[in-house]
């Protein structure tokens, strides 16, 4: 099976974020970056499918030069080669604009399967995979936890709300967006990191893909969220704070 996995580099979950002076995005200088976690699960699923059925795993990512580190991480985990859409204005494009870039890069590869995470940890849109399917004219399923190859195509396990699941059968080629938690993520081995250095990493300039950048949905401003409740913060040492909390829960909230 030839599988393309679309991954995104996002700010590391534990990295402190500051609003940039423009108030349109966060300050990216000195920020730590990581592979979007749902995309890591998509990569894991692709690697497992390749181990079972053979084929090729191609990693695809769009963004500025820094994205290279996340691509190399995917290669070190076992992807065969990578395409980097070099794009310095990713944030100025909406999900449709980004999906168009990815679709143009995917089309000539003619893959059997396209995988990506269900959403990114930074914008959290959850749109790109579904739009990709529509642009490529392929069937899709979202929030997938497990993928099984069948004679007719795929049988996938889809997560529904509140602890329910559903099986979906679909033909190939198709597009799946992966939910996290379906399998255990692997680490890159030292051997994998070494091998990654000799793997093909092809850079494509976004401008060469002939996709218009003008967005329909524009992120105009970012801000710190307003508090929905006024939180009483209990200070002091751990012991003092704990004692104060127990007192509050007893006498004020009356829940103990």
């Amino acid at each position: 099976m030839k599988i393309v996995v679309a991954i995104k580099q996002v700010p590391d979950r534990d990295a402190p974020v500051r609003i940039a002076a423009s108030a349109k995005w966060i300050e990216e200088r000195d920020l730590q970056w990581a592979m979007n976690e749902p995309d890591a699960y998509a990569l894991e699923e692709a690697l497992q499918l390749k181990e079972q059925h053979g084929g090729e795993v191609i990693v695809l990512s769009a963004g500025p030069e820094r994205v290279g580190s996340t691509i190399r991480e995917a290669l070190a985990k076992g992807a065969d080669r990578a395409i980097h859409i070099v794009c310095d204005d990713l944030g100025a494009r909406d999900a449709l604009g980004v999906a168009r870039l990815l679709a143009e890069a995917i089309r000539p590869e003619n893959p059997d399967l396209v995988l990506t995470g269900l959403q990114s940890e930074d914008l959290g849109l959850g749109l790109t995979g579904v739009i990709l399917a529509e642009l490529l004219g392929l069937p899709h399923a979202t929030l997938i936890l497990r993928v099984e190859k069948t004679d007719a195509g795929l049988k996938v396990k889809r997560e529904l709300e509140e602890g329910w699941f559903q099986s979906i059968e679909m033909p190939l080629p198709s597009v799946l967006t992966m939910q996290s938690g379906g399998s255990k993520l692997r680490y890159a081995t030292l051997m994998g990191i070494k091998r990654a250095k000799s793997k093909e990493l092809r850079a494509v300039n976004a401008a060469e893909l002939g996709v218009e950048a003008a967005p329909l949905a524009t992120l105009e401003q970012i801000s710190a969220p307003k508090k929905q409740k006024s939180t009483q913060l209990l200070g002091g040492s751990a012991k003092e704070a704990a004692a104060a909390l127990v007192e509050k829960l007893k006498t004020e909230a009356r829940v103990l």
Partner: protein, 331 residues
């Protein structure tokens, strides 16, 4: 009619999230301008339920191939509906798993992009949605001439108050109901969907727990869970978790609180090492008293917490367990 509001049902009833989306739609246009849409193979009952609400009219998008949901069936049928309605400026949905599955494709089919997971609508209109797992808010604006597709986060708009207030101003007569029959062929539906199932029998009932101690990524490893179990034990509370804990297999999925797990509203919800992404908050923000323990003072969990301790959970939790025990001995 300037707004198409696509309602979602479950077990033959319109879902509550759909009425929250109606409350959001009312920020965009007056009730007479809102067309409520029900989709399915037999939609008469659903349409009657919708017609009693403050909407201008109800459209039944009906076809035998819409009996069970498929992304293809819903996208094709609703695409035809949107095209048939002149002057549609807004298409509004509740932000459910089902909507996430097809609405982005539907919008794309019309050269549009969905503004999803909206938590607020201000004049402009400016749509607010969360960024970076709830650590920041983003303000979005739509441009261009096509209809704007918007989905509304659960719990962000109050369904009852707004709708009842408007009910009083409208005549008691139900809204008119029309039927729209899309052109659909079985060959256009490329996926086959099985019946929903649950993984295993439930051994805990988080829904009826009076007190819940819930644990998140901050716990770092399964080997540290006894710390949280001791606190839950002292409080007489059930143990629950945010999604990553269950993803890692540290606790079973049935203990997960959030949009993909349980929705709970206990008297006391104590969140330990949980940052508070929206997917978690929607599952617990109705709790009577929320306590958060987190090392990050900017963690979004503090936005909904009544009491908070900013600190290292590995110091605070044992101290709290001791304080709870000591308090019990005194009383």
């Amino acid at each position: 009619m300037s707004v198409l509001l696509v309602l979602e049902e479950s077990g033959g009833k319109i879902k509550r999230a759909s009425w929250e989306a109606l409350a959001a739609a009312q920020r965009l246009a007056p009730a007479q301008e809102i067309t409520a849409v029900v989709v399915g193979a037999e939609t008469e009952t659903l349409a009657a339920e919708a017609a009693a609400k403050p909407v201008g009219k109800v459209v039944r998008v009906e076809h035998p191939l819409l009996k069970t949901y498929t992304a293809d069936g819903f996208s094709i049928a609703l695409h035809q509906l949107v095209q048939s309605q002149d002057a549609t400026k807004w298409v509004v949905f509740p932000h459910t798993y089902q909507v996430r599955d097809y609405a982005p494709a539907l919008a794309c089919r019309m050269g549009q992009v969905l503004i999803g997971d909206v938590t607020g609508i201000e004049d402009g209109p400016i749509f607010t949605r969360q960024l970076l797992q709830g650590r920041l808010n983003g303000s979005y604006r739509h441009s261009g001439n096509g209809p704007c597709f918007v989905s509304v986060q659960a719990g962000a708009f109050r369904a009852d108050s707004n709708i009842d207030a408007l009910d009083a101003n409208l005549s008691a007569a139900p809204a008119p109901i029309e039927v729209f029959t899309p052109t659909l062929d079985v060959a256009q539906i490329r996926t086959a969907h099985g019946e929903p199932f649950r993984e295993s029998t439930q051994t805990v009932d988080l829904g009826s727990a009076q007190r819940i101690v819930s644990v998140g990524r901050g716990i770092k490893g399964a080997e540290n869970l006894p710390l949280i179990e001791a606190l839950a034990g002292a409080l007489g509370a059930e143990l629950a978790a945010s999604r990553p804990i269950c993803d890692n297999g540290w606790l079973p999925m049935e203990r997960q609180v959030g949009s993909s797990g349980h929705t709970v509203a206990p008297k006391l919800y104590l969140a330990v090492g949980i940052s508070g992404a929206i997917q978690h908050l929607v599952g617990m923000k109705g709790s009577q008293c929320i306590v958060a323990i987190n090392k990050d003072p900017d963690a979004p969990i503090f936005e909904v917490a009544d009491y908070g301790i900013v600190g290292d959970l590995f110091e605070v939790v044992p101290a709290l367990t001791e304080a709870v025990k000591a308090g019990r001995e005194r009383s």
